[in-house]
């Protein structure tokens, strides 16, 4: 095994000018603003959480490609231990957040004048699956906050997650008034027991989860909600797993691959004259990777040409026939006429 040469940056006796030049190159890392912008764009494009954080070269060398092992983790599963610790931390943070939100939900409502009308609108007779995806985060927040607040409440029967009918509660007047007031964060997914206890306006029970939740995180949605006997859903806390609540958002649009498709085809085109076999292989990869490409016709034309160059007349003719049948009005028909004449020539 040949020993690797020392890098110029590591050479002490190297030319001073050369070394400083190399150091200038090494220090030219991405500015934080660029990283932040790219992270934002990736987040919006991919639908995953991407954020930029300053990293020193030392941190980077230490981490390399593997996740940092937690001090207590075993050698066999350092990544798993880190994952568990991370999940626990996130769970604690979420629980704290919900607790604060729950307390604030129990305070007398100071809703703006416009809000009751909005709640009225929600409570009006309408199909049970009317909860729009736009409302889901708010609804989730409200139900979760209420669930945690009730779970931490010392009042008997205050837990909305109890499947048995709750006894009549005798809350202090101030709190009862507060609960009976329509709130901006009235949940759509709620227990009929809790509804009864709070004497809220009559509303249709939700008989199906919002589609956005089902689509976003079916596992969480199934775990979090279970239909009761009357078909309504009771929301359960999801913090036990330390997972984040599913947020409603539109599914990420598929990345635009048109440029990649074009480049791949250009590569095949370059190979066509001197290496038609390679061109065919590239076209095959293209067809596998982009079956419904916007350059499908161009790809087929290149296949015919490659077969022609390879002097595989039979397949070229078959491909030509198939092309004409599929794209009878294609602009490439004229272009292929010459190839056909040559193929048909004895």
């Amino acid at each position: 095994m040949k020993q690797e040469p020392k890098r110029w940056l590591e050479l002490g006796e190297a030319d001073e000018r050369l070394r400083s030049l190399m150091q200038v190159g090494a220090s030219d890392v991405a500015p934080p603003a660029v990283l932040a912008r790219t992270a934002r764009r990736l987040s919006s494009h991919l639908g995953v959480t991407v954020d930029s954080a300053p990293h020193t070269p030392a941190e980077r060398c230490a981490s390399d490609a593997r996740p940092p092992a937690a001090p207590a983790a075993t050698d066999a599963a350092p990544g798993f231990a880190a994952f568990v610790l991370k999940s626990a931390a996130v769970g604690l943070l979420l629980a704290a957040g919900w607790l604060v939100a729950g307390r604030s939900a129990q305070r007398p409502s100071v809703a703006s004048p416009a809000l009751p009308a909005r709640v009225e609108q929600r409570a009006s007779p309408a199909p049970s699956s009317e909860a729009s995806p736009r409302d889901v985060p708010e609804l989730l927040h409200a139900t979760s906050a209420r669930g945690v607040a009730q779970a931490t409440s010392s009042q008997p029967g205050a837990n909305a997650r109890e499947p048995t009918p709750a006894p009549k509660r005798t809350l202090p007047k101030r709190r009862r008034d507060a609960n009976s007031e329509p709130s901006a964060r009235a949940p759509a997914v709620t227990s009929p027991n809790a509804r009864e206890a709070r004497a809220e306006p009559e509303r249709e029970p939700i008989t199906s989860l919002p589609e956005a939740i089902e689509a976003e995180a079916p596992d969480l949605a199934r775990a979090a909600a279970a239909p009761t006997d009357d078909g309504a859903y009771v929301w359960k806390s999801t913090i036990v797993e330390g997972k984040r609540l599913p947020m409603a958002r539109t599914p990420p649009s598929p990345p635009d691959t048109r440029l990649e498709e074009l480049r791949a085809l250009e590569q095949a085109q370059r190979e066509l004259r001197h290496h038609p076999s390679r061109a065919l292989a590239a076209l095959r990869v293209h067809a596998t990777r982009y079956p419904a490409s916007w350059l499908e016709q161009e790809r087929e034309v290149l296949v015919i040409r490659a077969l022609h160059v390879l002097r595989d007349g039979e397949r070229a003719r078959a491909a030509l026939r198939a092309f004409k049948a599929r794209y009878p009005e294609s602009a490439h028909i004229d272009e292929l006429a010459q190839a056909q004449r040559e193929l048909d020539a004895p």
């Binding site: 790219t38 996740p67 066999a76 596998t288």
Partner: protein, 199 residues
Amino acid sequence: MGPTFKKAEGATHSPAVPQAAPSLSPNIPPLHELDFNRLFQEQAPYVWRALRRLGVREADCEDLLQEVFLTVHKRLAEFEQRSSLRTWVYGICLRKALDYRRLARISREVHEDRAAPRLSEPNQEHTLEVRRARSLLDAILDTLDDDKRAVFVLFEWEGLSMAEIAELAAIPVQTAYARLYAARRHVRDALRAREEEQP
């Protein structure tokens, strides 16, 4: 004749059916633990640097950086863990940079696309000096061909081993060494020539 870099990022696999390769080593985390966010935080600053040194203009670097990580995200499930994740990311970065230079017909003569420093900027002299040095470095690197430049950049700045570079470039290790030594000679000579021109 352009450089011959193989499609190590999984050209034989269809991205429509991503297949998670089984872990070859118990020390390598399984794929589901690979955190894209952490990967971005760790690698993005250096991928950006590699793109710059590989000849991507600063104005286009941000877009290329995004493209690299879009590809990383798309192909993460196909990562076969035969090399380190970092090497794999650099492979994607290298191909993107080469595609950029080859297809966009980019020919950079002078690197003056950075904004001029403001007069009130502290350490202005130092900033100007660094900027000049970077321009000089890029100008010298531009005189290298893509093959040698890739080996030089990945070895000298990005810290990849010669074996990793040879694998990325689909060339024998000896060829990688030959390219590195040739590139070093070229850079040293070019620097000396410029110093003689502007003493």
